[in-house]
Amino acid sequence: MDRFPFLIFVSILFCQIDNSKFAEYDETLIGTDQRIRMIPVSGGEFRMGSLESERRRREDEGPAHQVIVSDYWISSLEISWDLYELFLLRNIDSLLVDNERYNMDIDAISGATMPYVNYNQPGYPVINVTQYAASQFCKWLTAKTGNFYRLPTEVEWEHACRAGSEEAYSFGKASVSIKRYAWYKKNSDGKLHKGGLKEPNALGIYDMHGNAAEWVLDFYNSQGYSINNNVQIDPVQFSERLYPRVVRGGSFKDGPARLRSAARDYSKELWKRRDPQSPKSLWWHTDAVHVGFRIVRSKSIANKNDLEKYWIKPIKEY
């Protein structure tokens, strides 16, 4: 009798944890040779945000506070045009979809419209995408692969960016070595670059600092983080409002200060200012050619209902 509760405990544990090893893997997509390298990031407690002593810090990066984050994988690269076009064109949808786990109807996932002006270049990060468009890619990928992919929370993003560092950058305090790790204002020639050309951080993740700034799930608050006395586990700030939402990492347009691990930027209505249509596109910005995204996957398996809250809802703009 003594063993019975223990067995139940073990079986619950086994339900919640993926049987696959928590190791690096390549997500493959049937019908294409494109792969997405996923890097395991061990969770735990870390210090989110920046101390007041950090150079070029802004108010919204604080207060620095402890957070606990669960284990997850993150893509080693920003999602490329090549990958995004698979979703845009939807030619491989009918090819053997592994959706047993979530049983999602891939045909029911809204398809993106073509961008008005295309910036597609092989190997380059997809840019000008809305947060909704980035999230729909994740939804489609989830339906296609049976693994739950989504945008990172802001906490996951910063944790992966820091790769254990509490300094301004994952590679240390000073920005002198930044050119080895990042495309930014000084070395980008005003242009986006192919993904993965610079050195990765300690976890093997590329372009966290610079190149394309990256969408996360969270709403932006210029007052900084709202925290209480308890250390929160996997916090995320959803909102019904479309603006402002957080983008991280800085871009090829920014100076070093905006590339710091704790630095935050946010979406603006101006990013659709040259959309001549009304309603404006749900899928594409016109003036956010510096904004892309990368994806994560939690180690623990979410149940289908939990998935819903992570998909970004479409909000019309006129």
Binding site: M114, P115, N118, Y119, N120, R274, S278, P279, T286, Y318
Partner: protein
């Protein structure tokens, strides 16, 4: 807060009635019948929208935003649902504003709807598919309206000639006409043009202009549609409505070439076809064109436009001058360099105004001041004809001159349509395929 009583579409009535409308299945009932007819008052500028798609709705919003005295008084479309979704957007944006003064009885649906809407206005916004533009523009000018119209201004030569005639009349009547070639209202382009005219790069010798992208939307056939309705829904793929993408879209880049060189081409020769655009809803148009345009002083412009996913994309314009080079694109980008690569000018467009807004700001400011400043139809005609000339050369596989193009009688738009039951100008064969131009076989008309 007191509101003007004549303002009948507001957010509350809209939301309040929407369930009822859905139940009754009746469109437009949300607009309560008004007791007060539309009244003019001092300084008010009455605007009518003809063509209620996404772009038309956007243009109406920009018109309203351009000046507080603008009143949108009427909208027109051939499709009820299109007018409805336009109205939904307008109500979302301006439901609480007296600037949205469309009444239930000023929503016009049908093939003659444009006349009724235009009759009510001082200024008209013409944003239907381009095939109808000559007819609408002519009617507007004949009835003394200022005009904002989208590009291109025609899809055939008969249409071009109509626009020229109406344009002459507009000059005589001092009616402002702005055409939605919005690069002319974009700071980066204006600045670079000014520098070119001052001689920054010497004389322009050659250039390359591009609109290479993945393509646009397709609206598949619905079995309940008549042939004419299907074509008007899926209009991008039918030449009488769209003019092919070299005309409908690439016109922007060709327009920049004409503008920066300061002339129109004397001839064109090119090649094109459809490599991947071969589905049953792909109508008649090509998916790529490559055209060489020759200008009066021997300048050559190479023009590429492509609608093929997965290929190199670029949408921009570059020019080589006798003393330097120019690179511009619609992302507020403008660069002038010396032949040695020295940056002579790099435009900082981070905070530039949206050119789609600017074109309305300028038009309505002129109208309000009673000034006659804008004759954009000339540039609209020139750029449209440049693109049609390019299309004539790729369809026929021949070299065609500007004068030959202009003396052609190409007439592909029926001008007496009254209902969706009317016959369409083109029909598919038994396999559902439409006639597609074949270079070397298709004759220049």
């Amino acid at each position: 807060m007191k509101k003007q009583q004549n303002h009948t579409i507001n957010r509350r009535t809209f939301l309040g009635n929407s369930a009822k409308i859905a139940a009754a299945g009746i469109i437009f009932n949300k607009l309560s019948a008004t007791t007060k007819k539309y009244n003019s008052w001092d300084g008010e500028i009455k605007v009518a929208l003809v063509g209620c798609g996404g772009r038309g709705t956007g243009a109406a919003i920009q018109a309203i935003a351009s000046d507080r005295d603008v009143r949108l008084v009427a909208i027109a479309d051939v499709f009820k649902d299109q007018a409805q979704s336009c109205l939904d957007s307008l109500v979302e944006k301006y439901g609480d504003s007296e600037q949205l003064s469309v009444l239930k009885e000023t929503i016009f649906i049908g093939f003659d709807a444009y006349k009724k809407a235009i009759d009510m206005a001082d200024v008209v916004i013409l944003t239907t598919p381009p095939g109808f533009r000559p007819q609408h523009f002519t009617y507007a000018v004949e009835n003394n309206k200022h005009v904002f119209m989208e590009k291109p201004v025609a899809t055939d030569i008969v249409g071009i000639k109509k626009v020229i005639d109406a344009g002459k009349l507009a000059i005589k009547k001092k009616l402002n006409v702005v055409v939605g070639l919005q690069r002319h209202y974009q700071r980066s382009y204006r600045k670079v043009k000014k520098l070119i005219d001052r001689g920054s790069v010497g004389r322009i010798i050659s250039g390359q202009v591009y609109w290479n992208g993945a393509g646009v939307w397709v609206r598949p056939r619905n079995p309940q549609q008549t042939e004419l309705e299907y074509q008007m829904r899926n209009w991008y793929y039918f030449n009488w409505l769209c003019g092919d993408h070299i005309v409908e879209q690439h016109i922007h880049n060709l327009d920049v070439a004409n503008w920066f060189i300061g002339a129109t081409p004397i001839s064109a020769q090119g090649m094109g076809g459809r490599e991947i655009r071969n589905g049953k809803d792909h109508g008649q148009i090509f998916d790529h064109h490559f055209v060489e345009f020759t200008y009066p002083k021997g300048q050559i412009i190479s023009s590429q436009c492509r609608h093929q996913p997965g290929c190199m994309n670029r949408v921009d314009e570059v020019f080589q001058g006798s003393q330097g080079n120019v690179h511009v694109h619609s992302g507020n980008y403008g660069l002038i360099q010396s032949h040695r690569g020295r940056k002579l000018y790099l435009h900082d467009g981070e905070n530039d105004i949206n050119p789609y807004q600017q074109e309305h700001n300028e038009l309505f400011a002129a109208i309000k001041e009673g000034e006659y400043l804008y004759k954009d139809f000339q540039r609209g005609v020139n750029s449209t004809l440049t693109a049609i000339l390019g299309r004539m050369s790729t369809y026929s596989g021949q070299k065609i001159t500007w004068d030959e193009a202009l003396s052609s009688n190409l007439d592909i738009v029926p001008n007496n349509l009254t209902s969706f039951e009317d016959s369409a100008p083109v029909y598919p064969d038994k396999q559902g395929k439409y006639p597609i131009p074949i270079p070397g076989v298709t004759k220049f008309i």
